[in-house]
């Protein structure tokens, strides 16, 4: 061993830090090296100074009395009796030296081999530790990345769910608005229908009122001397080109005669035929719906004549009623 290595071993030995093969090898060296023993002695003295480095504390005074009291019970032991020297054979020291040298060589070889193996094992352990640490770091990095990815995915899912929820809410709101709009439209349709109906009614009513306003109502007076009480009322609807004639107290007709109604329109040179009719023979009354045989624009007068059965195109018989 080199001096420096011996110094290191001596220091560790003094501090009780040598173990196993190192301890055995050092003690073997110590047994045959007086200088090394002196060095160990000096280092032991130096190490004992560390006792003063402990936080100072005073032992209890009772302990001193207790220990000194115990010394009264125990007598210091005598050292072991000196070994009686015997006369050894001359060859014995040489044989012992040879055996010791062989044993030392063998132990040194064992020690060197064991140290090499120990160093290899330490290197292997260091490599294994490094690999283990690397694996741990890699696993930790992968774990962190995975956690980040999961967190990102969760955040994305959360945002998606939030958007979906918002879209659903908007859809529900839109559906509600649509239903309300549909109800409004239905209500407006109903109102429109009612208004349309009302407008139609109003139109019809106005039309009727307009028709009534345009109705021509005329009272026909008798032109007959024998029947002066005969009277007739004619109502003409110019829009529909039709009218109603009601007569009373006309003389009864003979079988070969009819009464014939005439509408006098200034646009025609002769009266327009309004049709033939008969009266109740008992009362001389009749109610007749009539139409003109050609378009009538304005009715200036109505007239009723007595004509042959079936009527004529142009008045030939006597005029029995005229008006107004």
């Amino acid at each position: 061993m080199t001096d420096e290595l011996l110094e290191e071993f001596a220091s560790l030995y003094v501090m009780g830090m040598l173990e196993g093969l190192e301890l055995a090898a050092f003690e073997a060296q110590l047994a045959r090296d007086p200088a090394l023993r002196q060095r160990v002695r000096e280092l032991t003295e130096a190490a004992s100074a560390l006792a003063f480095h402990a936080p100072a504390a005073e032992p209890p005074s009772a302990l001193r009395h207790r220990i000194l009291a115990r010394t009264a019970e125990v007598t210091p032991a005598r050292p072991a009796a000196p070994v009686v020297a015997f006369r050894m054979p001359v060859w014995l020291p040489w044989a012992a030296a040879a055996v010791f040298a062989l044993a030392s060589g063998w132990f040194a070889q064992l020690y060197v081999a064991a140290r090499a193996e120990s160093a290899a094992l330490r290197d292997l352990q260091a490599a294994t530790d490094f690999e283990l640490k690397s694996t741990k770091h890699q696993m930790e990095a992968e774990r962190i990345i995975a956690r980040q990815e999961v967190a990102t995915a969760r955040a994305g899912t959360g945002e998606l769910n939030q958007a979906l929820k918002l879209a659903r809410e908007q859809a529900e709101a839109s559906a509600i608005q649509l239903a309300a709009a549909q109800k409004l439209i239905a209500a407006r349709d109903l109102q429109l229908s009612l208004e349309t109906q009302r407008a139609a009614d109003l139109e019809e009513r106005a039309k009727r009122e307009a028709d009534l306003a345009n109705f021509k109502i005329a009272t026909l007076a008798s032109l007959l001397g024998n029947s002066p009480q005969a009277v007739a009322v004619a109502v003409w609807n110019p829009a529909r080109q039709e009218g109603v004639l009601r007569v009373e107290h006309l003389p009864p007709l003979t079988p070969d005669h009819d009464y014939q109604l005439w509408l006098i329109d200034p646009q025609y040179p002769i009266p327009v035929d309004g049709g033939v009719f008969t009266v109740n023979p008992a009362t001389g009354d009749a109610r007749v719906q009539f139409k003109a045989d050609k378009p009538v624009k304005t009715v200036a007068k109505f007239a009723v004549s007595l004509e042959r059965k079936g009527g004529v195109a142009k008045a030939e018989g006597p005029m029995v009623l005229l008006g107004p």
């Binding site: 001096d3 110094e7 290191e8 220091s11 560790l12 030995y13 003094v14 501090m15 009780g16 830090m17 173990e19 301890l23 003690e27 110590l30 047994a31 007086p34 200088a35 090394l36 023993r37 002196q38 060095r39 160990v40 002695r41 000096e42 280092l43 032991t44 003295e45 130096a46 190490a47 004992s48 100074a49 560390l50 006792a51 003063f52 480095h53 402990a54 936080p55 100072a56 504390a57 005073e58 032992p59 209890p60 005074s61 302990l63 001193r64 207790r66 220990i67 000194l68 115990r70 010394t71 009264a72 125990v74 007598t75 210091p76 032991a77 005598r78 050292p79």
Partner: protein
């Protein structure tokens, strides 16, 4: 595992006092302390020799010289005053019983007593399975030292106190990293690997710090350097 110093375990025939093989020279700054240490060691050896003859007064004086640093060491290691008392009693009874086996040439009485105290205290700590606690405590900052109360013998304590202060100053003069490594080994009984883990330093660095720290202490205490 801690072993007793080889000075006490090897056959006496194998341990004749021999000069150091390496060349050494006196360190000028440590002359006073070296001389004081030598004088105290001589006085301690004389007291222990008288104790070996059954002189209880000499042993009482030896107790007064050793008790405080040994109790402080035991208390620092065990962290328990009752256990420190047990250790101290065990150590002094061992010194009393085996005083006749002491040989001045194999080391100082104080170094013997410190070695005994340290081993007994660490054994006690290990017996109550406090190894894991030691590991955690080893990394914690050491609490500040408390002033020692006045001893029973004021006249003798003055010299002892001065000596203790000088030695304590010598330890404190070590580079912090060397002192810390020595503390973990000496007081906490940690192995090389455990100190390496506690300090987060390579094993080789720990070994070097232990070696340099002890050599530096030896230079200061004994006036030697390589």
């Amino acid at each position: 595992m801690f072993l007793l110093s080889p000075c006490w375990s090897l056959p006496a025939a194998l341990l004749p006092p021999q000069p150091a093989r390496l060349s050494r020279m006196k360190a000028p700054e440590s002359l006073d302390l070296s001389a004081a240490v030598t004088a105290r060691a001589r006085a301690d050896a004389e007291l222990l020799g008288r104790s070996a003859q059954g002189d209880r007064e000499a042993f009482a004086e030896l107790y007064d010289r050793f008790a405080r640093p040994l109790y402080s060491t035991a208390l620092r290691i065990t962290g328990n005053p009752a256990e420190a008392e047990d250790v101290l009693q065990d150590v002094f009874l061992t010194l009393w019983e085996k005083a006749r086996a002491f040989e001045d040439s194999r080391g100082s009485a104080f170094a013997w007593a410190v070695t005994l105290t340290r081993h007994r205290a660490i054994d006690r700590v290990r017996q109550r399975s406090r190894r894991s606690e030691l590991l955690s405590e080893a990394t914690a900052e050491e609490a500040g030292t408390q002033p020692a109360p006045a001893g029973p013998d004021a006249a003798g304590a003055l010299s002892a106190s001065e000596h203790a202060d000088a030695v304590r100053a010598a330890v404190k003069s070590l580079p912090p990293e060397q002192r810390r490594a020595l503390e973990l080994a000496f007081f906490d009984g940690l192995t090389q690997a455990e100190i390496s883990a506690a300090l987060r330093q390579p094993l080789g660095t720990v070994k070097a710090r232990i070696r340099r720290g002890l050599i530096r202490l030896r230079e200061i205490m004994g006036g030697h350097h390589d």
